[in-house]
């Protein structure tokens, strides 16, 4: 006989693999500052730019070195970078000062062309998964990241449709994922965290971060990552 008063424990045990990952929290916090704060941070940026321009004009004869070489507007944005770095992640700062655009691509080739150097084509996608969508975000006409979403073409035996997302994002620098297992990816370091049903793997090549996340096994995530690196050789 099952006790309904134990439902909380029963449900939590059944969802032992459903946890707030550090990556999810990080993504959420980055999104918070991308979406609503565009206008909020544009205003001080423009104000700062205006002030710098006025100061620049006022002191031009006395202090020509006070102006940045690339213009006062950039100076405003540089100042903004210091103001708006919620996570200390350098790659997010640029988004905060500009409007974020999103794209939907019809093919991997189109996404590669838009993303440019560093785009890797994944192989070794687990059997049964099909490419469902290719989306991107960025500033102005620059695509900063591309996400390929794969879903199972048919529901699995447990009735759930599983997803794998592969994201490639331009970053200013790489970092380590603490608490993740380090794995060798054909000479590059990958950071993997996995449970029975889900896995997430991150690695860096040059100035791009790659994420393989979804309802897949750790070995499958590693195989996908290796296939991406292999595609560069």
């Amino acid at each position: 006989m099952t006790q309904m008063k134990d439902f909380r424990r029963i449900a939590d045990e059944s969802m032992a693999n459903v946890n707030v990952r550090a990556e999810l929290k990080e993504k959420t916090l980055v999104k918070l500052y991308r979406k609503p704060n565009t206008v909020r941070f544009l205003v001080p940026a423009l104000a700062a730019a205006s002030i710098m321009l006025i100061l620049g004009i006022a002191f031009w004869p006395e202090s020509p070195q006070s102006m940045p070489e690339d213009g006062s507007t950039e100076m405003g944005i540089m100042q903004l970078k210091t103001l708006s770095s919620p996570l200390g992640a350098p790659e997010t700062s640029r988004f905060m000062a500009m409007d974020v655009n999103s794209w939907s691509f019809v093919s991997v080739e189109e996404a590669r062309d838009a993303f440019g150097e560093g785009f890797l084509t994944p192989g070794n996608i687990p059997l049964g998964f099909e490419l469902e969508s290719i989306t991107g975000t960025g500033t102005e006409d620059q695509v900063e990241n591309v996400t390929l979403t794969y879903s199972e073409s048919a529901s699995s035996v447990d009735g759930l449709i599983r997803f794998i997302t592969i994201t490639q994002e331009k970053v200013a620098s790489s970092w380590e994922y603490y608490g993740f297992e380090e794995v060798d990816l054909l000479g590059y370091t990958g950071y993997v965290s996995a449970s029975e049903e889900t896995a997430e793997l991150h690695f860096f090549l040059g100035s791009v971060r790659y994420d393989v996340i979804g309802q897949l096994q750790k070995d499958q995530a590693i195989a996908i990552a290796k296939s991406m690196i292999q595609s560069t050789r």
């Binding site: 309904m4 008063k5 439902f7 449900a11 693999n17 707030v20 959420t28």
Partner: protein, 189 residues
């Protein structure tokens, strides 16, 4: 627990508050979303949207209810929005109830394995309830709210909450062939 510093809207304060809210309620938000959507990816999407909305509406929160109630209400409403979307409806139509764990007749219910199977079956049946019944079961048994609090979260009369709870229990009893004990709940409602 209530928001105590709603007048301080500085960026640093908001950052700290959102971090605190995610740490405190993130797991409940994610798992609640998962129980509605039965899909981790979608649950994570809802998770992100919940905290984006909390962030946007932070200054308008009046502290009339607990912050957890407020966040759980946003979560439930977002899940219902997702469930209403045509795309997910199509995906969910392919869902099959999990039945393989049902203990066979004659199998000992005293054994741990059978008990685990019954627990999983209960969880599965709750996941498969219609939304209006799932609402009250999750809020009552998972989140531990009383019927008055549930009525405030769902914006329905307390009597409606009680009748939905009663009906939800009946459904679960039928589907589990009586192998679920609600304690004294039937007497109370």
């Amino acid at each position: 627990m209530f928001f105590l510093q709603t007048t301080n809207s500085s960026k640093a304060h908001l950052e700290k508050e959102i971090n605190r809210l995610i740490d405190l309620y993130g797991q409940d938000v994610l798992r609640t979303a998962y129980m509605y959507l039965k899909d981790l990816q979608k649950a994570e999407d809802v998770f992100q949207e919940v905290f984006i909305r909390v962030f946007r509406k932070y200054e308008t929160f009046q502290g009339r209810s607990s912050e957890k109630s407020w966040i759980i209400r946003i979560t439930i409403n977002l899940c219902k929005d997702v469930l209403r979307s045509a795309w997910l409806k199509r995906a969910l139509l392919t869902d099959k109830p999990v039945e393989e764990e049902l203990p066979q007749e004659g199998e000992s219910l005293e054994s741990r394995v059978a008990q685990d199977a019954e627990d999983k079956l209960l969880f599965s049946e709750v996941m498969n309830l219609k939304t209006e019944f799932k609402d009250v079961i999750l809020l009552y048994y998972y989140h531990g709210y009383d019927t008055k609090e549930i009525s405030e979260i769902l914006k329905v009369k307390e009597g409606t909450v009680r009748s939905r709870l009663h009906r939800a229990r009946q459904i679960l009893k039928e589907r589990l062939e009586g192998r679920v004990d609600f304690g004294d709940a039937d007497e109370r409602f």
